[in-house]
């Protein structure tokens, strides 16, 4: 670490208000870029948060996730969102529990059910179980504002044929 940095980190070097003025004086005009660096984390944060809002509205991203600071704001997502998986074979269609090995992928599908992620989930299911068709449904719950009666609705679904 440079002596300069050590100097400025220690408050025993002088009154901070004056130190701040010193800093401004010390920074040459050609180093404006360095002076803008403290704003970089805020810029990154703003971009991520705006992208999170976009994904929440276009791809049903769980508002609690994704870095947009939507936690503790809505009942959407989280434990109120469910994934149902149905497999079709010659014997008919049956709803199955997701295999333990695919639970992490199911969590990701529930949180951000994009088509590509659901297709990836369907392919992984195809590898785990034999079937003709897989149907994946992502359900979310909304609550009546008066009685709190829960109503479930499908927010995303995908059907995929097994590869032969």
């Amino acid at each position: 670490m440079s002596k300069r940095t050590r100097h400025h980190l220690s408050s025993s070097q002088g009154v901070p208000r004056e130190a701040e003025k010193d800093c401004r004086r010390e920074a040459p005009t050609g180093r404006r870029l360095i002076r803008c660096l403290p704003l970089l984390p805020a810029v990154v944060m703003t971009i991520v948060a705006l992208f999170q809002i976009h994904l929440a509205h276009t791809e049903q991203l769980d508002p609690w996730k994704g870095g947009g600071f939507g936690m503790f704001s809505t009942t959407e997502g989280g434990p109120h969102r469910h994934v149902h998986v149905y497999l079709s074979s010659v014997a008919g269609e049956e709803r199955i529990d997701t295999p333990d090995s695919l639970e992490d992928l199911e969590d990701r599908v529930r949180t951000l059910p994009t088509t590509s992620r659901m297709q990836q989930f369907a392919r992984a299911l195809s590898a785990a179980r034999s079937h003709r068709l897989v149907r994946i449904e992502v359900w979310d719950t909304n609550f009546d504002p008066e009685t709190l009666t829960p109503n479930v609705e499908v927010i995303r679904q995908l059907e995929a044929r097994a590869r032969r």
């Binding site: 400025h8 360095i34 805020a42 703003t46 600071f69 503790f72 609550f143 829960p150």
Partner: protein, 291 residues
Amino acid sequence: MKRRARQVLGAVTAWVRDEGADLALRLTLIDLLFVPVGSWSVRPFVMLLAAGGLLHRAVLRSPATWFLLTGLTGWRVVADWPMADNHAYLLCYWCLAVFLSLLAPCPAASLSQSARSLVTLVFVFALIWKALLSPDYLDGTFFRVLLLSDRRFESLSLSVGGMSTGDLEVARKFLETGLHDPKRSVPNVVEPPSQRRLASTATWGSLAMEALVAFTFLLPGRSTALLRSTALLVFCAITYAVAPVSGFGWILLAMGVAQSPQDAHGLRLLHVVCFALLLLYREIPWLTWCG
């Protein structure tokens, strides 16, 4: 006795003064040890860096330490995408801010600027979600459902909301079971008036406190420092008494220390006291004693 107390206070104030900007860095590292982050590929290295920084000042002030912490916490967010919680993102931004400040001509001022902008954005985005984007926050539905269904808030519903254990079980069944059964038949939720009041207070209280923090942090000028810090301290002291996310509160307090004037020793000390308070909230089941 009085003299002894004055000596202790003097020693603590001197410690806060001597710590300077290091105080914010140390609080961040303590947070990383109190709430270890990530999986095995991240956690041990983060903890080692945090312990090293707390033990040795050169490690604490080395840009390399914070570059590595930024990389590790950033990798955790990327690897877990989209599962990471919001404080994982904030932690990464904060480590980046510390790293960049250590490269700047005046680290303390740079860190203060970053901290202030990050805290502002946290509360502005939280407000946008609650007041504009969420379909069920302002009508109170969110907190009514949360207080009934989330077991982390059970003590609050039992002690302040006046719910009984049986009523809570019935409410959870009503909210969570048989949702896809067209012939579903479960008893309705029974919410005592005190529980409705609690939900309403939580809804509007949270919104008001977040708006206050956002507003004070948006106010220009150095003279508003006391107002900003007070708003953030009040928010942390109240919110994290019941919200089980002390890790988020500790990052906010570390940023609060960084943005507060370095000559405001009392104010900086209050951030440390609040930091300790959040640990007590987390470790002592005080709400269960209120029932």
